[in-house]
Point group: C2
Chain length 244, copies 2
DNA sequence: CCAGCAGAAAATGTATACATTATCTTTGAC
DNA sequence: GTCAAAGATAATGTATACATTTTCTGCTGG
């Protein structure tokens, strides 16, 4: 466990600063899976009292990053490959539902504009030949915008919150783990066009299926990018391991 | 806002007592939608200090029952009919996914036994003619057991947590099965048999579709049981807001 | 009468002391 | 040497005092 950067930003409340500092430390791998996060240690590391630390830990536990046991404090959860994969499964069905609900309700003017802009931006970005890392990073932003807008247009806060929770599951490799190949990016942008078409055309079922497969394809890319074939096997179907 | 029952049960920590007391009070309708839940008032009502109260409020906010704004505390969320309905939509796709994953992984001996027992218990309960309220209550327990076992057998904690969150939405709890008519209960028990069959037969797609429709049917029953749309609106004080 | 700005009241944010529980260490018996 | 029990240590749970922010109140000026 290394030292944490002091949260001297203190934009608003200490609780929020601590929350982000600890979250960042966790995602940066500063703690081992299963390791206990002692309140007092964080207290001295961060230079605040136990009160905001406790609040932050509780929040992180509610997001699924930590485990909590009364009188025994918080420990870092372990995220198996299986857990990460099923997080994508969950996200796929949730985002599929979002697309369906969006198609049922219809887009408002603002949402329509945002989605069209995202599609145009993507078109522009991918028009010219080769794709650089910078392109990928920019497309990542556009991609997020597209998806977030559809979540919002579904009009369900519960659904929104749950997609957020899915995205809090740490990925084994860094955030941009799935370094998509150029073909993948183009293919996924095509998906966006079709999904938009289905939503605008008020085809709920089609929108749901397209979005579901769209997100599931990320899962496939992730599996493809896993190190050893053995790991892949254990991650995908080999929940066939002996179940007691 | 009425007085709350003192949490003298003191199961283990005060935090947990307060959590359940406040949750119960909310579900019992002791607070108005949008009403602010002041820490100090709860403090005096419950006879504990602010510390466990704050923790409980934060937990309830993470479950989606309360809204939180820094420096402004917690307010009771409003749950429009739309929100409740989409909670069922979400639950339907999540439980559908659970059934699919369960069918892919296969059941272990314990899960198999539990499900078979639940099916047998249901058969016994519904064999004889008329269904009383007591029957309904007992079937509610069996129903919960059946579903919980399938969620567990899916092997994803994230999925489990999310189904739990769906059930925390007021009025969308499975307890409401009690309100079903006799035909509905029988039909839903038949569903259980078929879902079990699909899981045991390792038919993921069929299991998902059956479970999805099974849960969605609860939504339909709910909608059917609603008074006229106009009455609903006035009763819930939730005018469907115009989408800009 | 209303708008707007103090000042007061009250609410939440934070630190800290103390209580309770868990965990570690030491000691003693076998 | 191992095990167990008792005390010591350290962790979390809780209460409370104080700090900061919000919210209410009432005044003043127009």
């Amino acid at each position: 466990m290394a030292a944490l950067p002091a949260p001297e930003t203190s934009s608003s409340t200490r609780f929020e600063s601590v929350l982000e500092a600890v979250r960042a430390a966790i995602l940066a791998g500063e703690f081992e899976p299963g390791e206990r996060l002692h309140e007092v240690k964080l207290t001295t590391l961060l230079g605040v009292s136990r009160t905001p630390v406790r609040a932050a830990l509780q929040k992180l536990a509610s997001e699924g990053l930590l485990d909590y046991t009364p009188n025994r404090g918080y420990t870092l959860r372990e995220f198996s490959i299986d857990e990460v994969i099923s997080a994508y499964e969950v996200r796929a069905v949730l985002e599929g539902l979002a697309a369906r609900l969006s198609a049922e309700r219809g887009l408002n003017v603002s949402e329509m504009g945002t989605l069209q802009q995202a599609l145009r931006d993507g078109d522009d970005l991918l028009r010219n030949g080769h794709i650089t890392d910078e392109h990928r990073s920019e497309y990542s932003r556009i991609n997020a915008c597209f998806h977030v807008t559809i979540h919002a247009s579904a009009g369900s806060r519960l659904l929104n919150d749950m997609v957020y929770l899915c995205q809090q599951v740490p990925v084994s490799s860094p955030r941009n783990v799935v370094a998509f190949e150029e073909g993948d990016v183009r293919r996924r942008h095509e998906d966006h066009h079709r999904i938009f078409e289905a939503i605008v055309g008020r085809e709920p079922w089609r929108a749901e299926m397209l979005m579901r497969d769209h997100v599931a394809s990320v899962k496939s890319s992730l599996i493809r990018s896993l190190p050893s074939p053995a790991a892949v096997q254990s991650a995908t179907k080999t929940a066939r391991r002996l179940r007691r």
